[in-house]
């Protein structure tokens, strides 16, 4: 079992008042403890805390040296996507290199499972370590290829390389 379950033996006879008073001293002590809340818009991080590298947020398309998307329009990511949120129209240039004519991800439909990143043979599409996505317009949540390439946030490692089975 991955998670240890602690079994608490119930005592046979319980003093309600003593337990209540004990609980009250505990809650009173917590009044003066250091608070764990992070004041979000002002503080986004604090010493000893960072967003997990395995965080799966909005996508990012990696690019090659010429600034073109690494995507070869193989069609695996729309195939595996459980939410069916990736729209891909493949194209081919005169040299026979395949590239996406249209590559759009509807971030509203996306369930951030990360399968697209896992399945991608070119390591082109990634889910990002990123969570600030506010927009003024619904339409802006359909990310097109240009927008996906323009993202600069770090990408997810999906799993811990030292512990691939999550143990």
């Amino acid at each position: 079992m991955a998670i240890g379950v602690k079994v608490v033996r119930r005592p046979d006879s319980v003093s309600y008042l003593r337990a209540t008073l004990k609980g009250m001293t505990l809650t009173f002590g917590h009044l003066f403890r250091r608070k764990v809340t992070m004041q979000y818009p002002e503080e986004k991080s604090e010493p000893g805390w960072s967003l997990s590298p395995r965080w799966r947020g909005t996508h990012r398309m990696l690019t090659d040296e010429q600034g073109r998307a690494k995507c070869v329009a193989c069609g695996l990511c729309p195939q595996i996507c459980p939410a069916n949120c990736i729209k891909l129209v493949p194209g081919e240039d005169e040299d026979g290199h395949r590239y996406p004519l249209i590559y759009e991800i509807d971030e509203f439909r996306c369930v951030f499972c990360g399968y697209c990143q896992e399945v991608c043979p070119e390591e082109a599409i990634h889910v990002g370590v990123h969570y600030e996505n506010a927009e003024y317009d619904r339409g802006r949540f359909v990310y097109d290829l240009e927008r996906l390439c323009a993202q600069t946030h770090p990408v997810s490692s999906l799993w811990d390389p030292a512990d691939p089975r999550g143990e």
């Binding site: 006879s13 319980v14 008042l17 009250m24 809650t27 003066f32 809340t37």
Partner: protein, 405 residues
Amino acid sequence: MSAELKGFLLVAVLKILVVFTAINVGVMMVIWLERRASAWMQDRLGPNRVGPEGVLQSVADGLKNILKEETFPVVGADRLLFFLAPAMSFVPALLTFSVVPFAAPLPGFDVTLPLLGRFTYTGPISMVVADLPIGFLFIMAISSLGVYGIVLAGWSSGNKYALLGGIRSSAQMVSYEIALGLSLVAVLLVAGNVTLSDVVAMQQRSVWFVFALTVGFVLFVVAAFAETNRLPFDLPEAEAELITGYHTEYSSMKFSMFFIAEYSAMMTMSALMATLFFGGWDIPFTPWDEQGPPSVGRTLATLGVFFVKMNVFVFTYIWIRWTVPRFRFDQLMQLGWKIMIPVALAYIVVVATTVYTLEALGWEVGPTYGLVLFGVNAVLLGALLFGLDHERLILGARQRARMAA
């Protein structure tokens, strides 16, 4: 209009305005305090954005609730009662504070204002909205009407969860009202009168009743928690089982009114605990506050003391809410009927006997009188805690299963 009548009207209107404004502002502050204190107890920060340290959070919430859409249940609901129910819980909660004396009296005045003429008020102005001769009986009577708001809200919603909340609250309120009333009989026995100003005066002469009537105080606190529907007695709401019970169907300002009613009832009960058992506006260890002619400084000082005492209990309410889990309904009923009421009845007999004996011995009400009562109470309290605590006060699931077997 004569100058005296004008002075009387001015004082009456001012007292009403000041006290009810203070309660409403106080409710806002207490709601904010509750949210902050609960957050602190859970190592969070709580609302701290609106105004300095978030004190204006309740104002923002109120504004939001006024502007929000009101929804009405359509199927099986009673529209008129659904409308009236929030008011029916709101009004008694506000009314009850009017008999609580909150400070030493102010001196009378004789002023002449331009246009309005002369105002006079002879004698000290007592700092209570209405010093009724029936005192805390008035509070008992009016607060017992508060349950209608809850019951009718539950019934008129046409929702089974709301109805269950209403039924639970009616059973709970009636049960604990008895214990509350019986615990107050002890106060009446020692103070000799039900007027709250007399109770305060009596405590100034002897000792605070928390010493003279410790068991009564404990009973009163438990019953008061049940009467105000606060944890561990908040079964009418019970978010986990009844999706907040009687106010499931309420939205916008009508929902807020239930909230204001709950918190002002809580403040009144805290004020009552301070007045009945902790000397009201009395400043301990000094006779300065009750002797000599009234003065403004004395009124302010006693008001401050009363404010502190009251808020200690308000904080206790909050503190217990975020510590103790909710009872099961059978635990609530068995605590009310099998423990609170018999103990309260026996306690009345003990207090009456003690008071009668002391009076037969010709003792005057004073510090020693109070200390004798305190001795009796200490023995009783020790015996009660020793005898009742284990497995009798609250039945856990295990004991219940054992009893059923």
